[in-house]
Symmetry: C2
Subunit: 156 residues, 2 copies
């Protein structure tokens, strides 16, 4: 999963138009102030162990929320963060699981998957206000400096 | 180069704090209405032929601008789009070259490289308002479905 976390004054969206893979029963329009906008791309490799990646993502979001002193997150599906996406079905499963996982600890909203959406985002711009991660099943982060999946920092 | 183009009602930024790789002599704060926000990550592979990738990026931006009926672009350095970045020096060279290349055809502004910045972005949300590309030297797009660099769509 590619994750881009932006500590924001506000994030708001409005679903405008369905794509072929649009979720049903959505919240058409919503917003959060003083929140983390969590842009997520679920990747094909995540399908090997979707729940593992979801737990890592939740952990990353909660750590960041604590660091920046926010207690709100807007999960925002963002396919443009990856060239190698999971199937839409798996992606929606992961995003819903992430929402549920976080909802015990923090206020969570989730923008709908598979819709063209307008959005308005105000990034705070302090040194911790933008962070990105590539999470892979097995608990490691996949970066060029760290091709081998390392497990030490995340033990189930 | 990873490129994320967002057709926006407005994009505004304000440089807040230097990083170790901050550009000097910057425009501290600026904005554009009815513009394409062009988030760019210059990648290490781009160093093989920086100008080739710049020309491809300019071409992509101009095509998109024409499609959505915009005549303004804000070039916005965005390292979070890639896990494998070019050196800061090469990245700044590429971004400045992109600015110069575009400036004959369209109104261009460029947010400074290497600064923590606050920003405010309003994505329009119509079907063409968000587009991403991975450009590599040699003229092709590097996607999983297209591992071999193809040249047909961009001939110098
Ligand atoms: Mg509008």
């Amino acid at each position: 999963m590619r994750l881009l976390l932006i500590h924001s004054d506000f994030i708001e969206y409005e679903a405008q138009k369905k794509t072929a893979m649009a979720e049903e029963d959505i919240i058409q329009k919503d917003s959060l102030d003083e929140a983390i906008a969590a842009f997520c791309a679920v990747e094909s490799v995540d399908e090997e162990d979707l729940m593992d990646v979801v737990i890592q993502a939740a952990d990353e979001i909660l750590k960041t929320a604590e660091k920046v002193g926010s207690a709100r997150v807007m999960i925002y599906p963002y396919a443009h963060l990856s060239n190698d996406l999971a199937s839409p079905k798996q992606a929606v499963m992961a995003l819903r699981a992430l929402e549920e996982k976080l909802s015990g600890s923090i206020e969570v909203k989730r923008a709908p998957f598979g819709w063209y959406k307008s959005f308005n985002l105000s990034c705070k711009g302090h040194p911790l206000s933008e962070l990105s991660r590539t999470l892979v099943p097995g608990g490691g982060e996949d970066t060029p400096a760290k091709k081998e999946v390392t497990r030490e920092w995340f033990v189930l």
